[in-house]
Subunit: 148 residues, 2 copies
């Protein structure tokens, strides 16, 4: 979802297997939903879609699996400026880190990768002696279509 999806489906499953993590039908369903996603999904949406693959998937299994994927650094948790509700959105973590811009009027989410962002993080690690594990830059405002 962030940038064109150029991956072979099943990659997430392989990554977990490679780390010796047990695979179940429910996890497979959830992983496939996350891999196939074309937009940012929240826990309820993931549950709904996963149930279309495996009807037995429970809400708590979704949360437990999201937690596992977060701990493994395979997905990122986003707020998208809480454009609607207080919940979180999830996306596959791929190579390039990127910024999320949420339009406060139309709700559109735009993603943007930037070398300046990469430099900023390097600068932070250097100047603050801080080892970055995860970073999240979210911006709220008005997109080109909605700005005035």
């Amino acid at each position: 979802m962030p940038f064109p999806q150029t991956e072979i489906p099943g990659r997430l499953q392989k990554q977990l297997a490679g780390r010796g993590i047990r695979m179940t039908a429910q996890r497979r369903a959830i992983l496939s939903v996350i891999e196939m996603a074309t937009k940012h999904l929240d826990a309820s949406q993931i549950l709904r879609k996963a149930r279309r693959v495996d009807a037995t998937v429970d809400r708590s299994t979704v949360y437990r699996t999201l937690d596992l994927l977060k701990r493994q650094g395979l997905i990122d948790e986003l707020d998208l400026m809480h454009i609607k509700g207080e919940g979180h959105y999830y996306e596959r973590r791929l190579d390039r880190d990127h910024i999320h811009m949420a339009c406060l009027r139309c709700g559109k989410i735009t993603e943007f990768a930037s070398k300046t962002f990469d430099s900023l993080k390097k600068q932070l690690e250097r100047d603050c002696h801080f080892h970055i594990v995860v970073s999240r830059l979210e911006v709220g405002g008005y997109c080109s279509g909605c700005r005035r």
Copy 2:
């Protein structure tokens, strides 16, 4: 809290008054708590402290006031990487925008202002034709004391 507090107490109250917003004893209590804060507070902490000033303050009034201040752009809402719980933290919005770094081991929050961050936002506005109203860069990782 973000950087030394060099302001006269009551400034927040004046800013609201200047916008024609009605002042009440409860709001005054909440505003003073936010102004005097030396660290990031969540809604429950704000409630507890505000009640020491005015015992009648209700939790819903805290949420309603935080909402007002957010809409007025006078405070920012932070997640601080959800270091503990799913709630939000609030801080006065002052001139300089800054980055929040949360140590995943000791929980310390470090703040950092950077020209690169300012440039990044300018670049974003220019390249994406996006008008930024609010931005939030949060980083999770290991601080100098905890990194290994």
